[in-house]
């Protein structure tokens, strides 16, 4: 009875040891096979990546990048363009007859705004107030304020002359966003006219190259058309 019990214990251990040993051997084989598959996949993916990378040359990418940058920069410049000449039309429409504007200062401010100072002269404060009220009708300078004034009396022989020689200098100032005077194509502003279109072409040519305008035999005719169109605008 004792021998039988001892033999059984040895068999159980034998099974376990054989199972563990051969399992280990099979797992070695399996692991190496799986490793080979993964390595093959890795190589394949590396090759695929190289092929994808070679689809476009670095030069192509640089060219596209530069063109993209240039287009984006040009678009931004266009979007932030300004046309200060639009201010004049606006001011001309609301100048009182008894006010004399003698100067102007326009400044493009760094924070994408502009400041306009209109320097004028009047005989008395009532005229300035009247002009300020008129500026309220302006689309661009309706918020303009009198930022300074200088009342001076000229020299005269008597009190009556003194009254007549009094002058009042003043400065209207306004700060607005640059988008309010954004550049608009000529066709959108003026209803017109072949002369204006001709002038456009001349200006573009002149900006393109000096030699083009100098060498061209049509220079004189271009200049004359410019002059004509300027007169038309006037």
């Amino acid at each position: 009875m004792q021998r039988t019990k001892g033999t059984r214990r040895i068999y159980v251990l034998a099974y376990i040891s054989y199972i563990v040993f051969f399992s280990t051997l099979f797992s070695v084989i399996g692991v190496y096979v799986y490793g080979a598959i993964v390595s093959r996949d890795l190589s394949s993916l590396r090759e695929q990546l190289v092929v994808e990378k070679q689809r476009f040359s670095i030069e192509d990418i640089d060219n596209i990048e530069q063109l993209h940058n240039r287009l984006a920069a040009a678009e931004e410049l266009l979007n932030h363009s300004s046309a200060p000449s639009r201010i004049f039309d606006d001011v001309e429409a609301i100048v009182a007859s008894n006010i004399y504007f003698s100067g102007m200062q326009y400044k493009h401010l760094p924070n994408n705004q502009f400041q306009v100072d209109l320097i004028g002269q009047a005989d008395n404060f009532t005229e300035i107030i009247s002009q300020r009220n008129l500026l309220g009708n302006s689309s661009l300078l309706r918020d303009a304020k009198v930022v300074e004034y200088d009342y001076s009396v000229g020299e005269g022989e008597n009190a009556n002359n003194l009254l007549g020689l009094a002058t009042l200098s003043f400065v209207f100032s306004d700060t607005r966003d640059i988008s309010s005077i954004a550049y608009m194509p000529e066709e959108a502003i003026v209803n017109t006219q072949s002369e204006v279109e001709t002038e456009n072409v001349v200006i573009v040519d002149s900006a393109t190259s000096t030699t083009e305008t100098v060498d061209s035999s049509d220079t004189d005719s271009e200049e004359s058309s410019t002059a004509t169109s300027t007169e038309v605008i006037q």
Partner: protein, 207 residues
């Protein structure tokens, strides 16, 4: 009995040695390879997307005619030719029958970036990745430098001539931005007036 027990113990020990000296390192190696595979798959997916985007850009670039490209190059050149710009300004002035008194080119500088409250943030720039050039109304980002050159100009002419000149400057083939403009009549009803202008033009140098 003892001999068989010895073999069994030996087999277990050998199995353990194999497991720790061969199987485990190999599994670690496979794990690294698998991570690499995942990385490469992601890279290929990304490069596929980038290539698709790049192909779209290439198609767009190819669709741009040579005339359009020349217009773009003229509008935003790689460098500022101060002599040519001065010549163009002179042409515009003379075409409007004003008298050019003086024209002084400034230095070519990177565009200065300003915050909304007007403080200097940094000099220049353009971010090629985001495409953002101006934030809060200023040039912003980093990368390619947008260059600027200013020209101080003094002219004499009538009010109407001056207005026509400004219009021509504004619609020039490349930006001649009017940064400052000033005039003051010395005499009442004077027909000829002296005007001071500060103009700006831009360039985007190639890398």
């Amino acid at each position: 009995m003892r001999f068989q027990l010895g073999i069994q113990i030996t087999l277990l020990v050998v199995a353990l040695i194999i497991a720790f000296s061969v199987v485990k390192p190999k599994i670690d190696s496979i794990s690294i390879d698998q991570n690499e595979v995942a990385g490469y798959k992601a890279a290929i997916e990304n490069i596929g997307r980038y290539n698709q985007h790049l192909q779209t850009l290439v198609n767009q670039a190819n669709a741009l005619s040579s005339y359009d490209r020349s217009v773009l190059e003229r509008y935003l050149p790689k460098e500022i030719d101060a002599t040519l710009v001065a010549s163009d300004i002179s042409n515009i002035v003379s075409r409007n029958r004003l008298l050019l008194l003086d024209i002084v080119p400034g230095e070519v500088l990177p565009v200065t970036v300003y915050s909304a409250d007007g403080q200097v943030v940094e000099t220049s720039a353009y971010d090629p990745n985001t495409g953002a050039l101006m934030s809060d109304g200023s040039f912003g980002g980093q990368g390619d430098s947008l260059m600027v050159q200013q020209f101080e100009v003094e002219v004499v002419g009538t009010y109407e001539q001056m207005k026509a000149m400004l219009s021509d400057l504004e619609r020039n083939a490349y930006p001649l931005k009017i940064v400052e403009f000033e005039f003051e009549l010395e005499e009442v009803n004077a027909s000829l007036v002296q005007y001071s202008l500060l103009l700006e033009t831009y360039a985007l140098p190639a890398n």
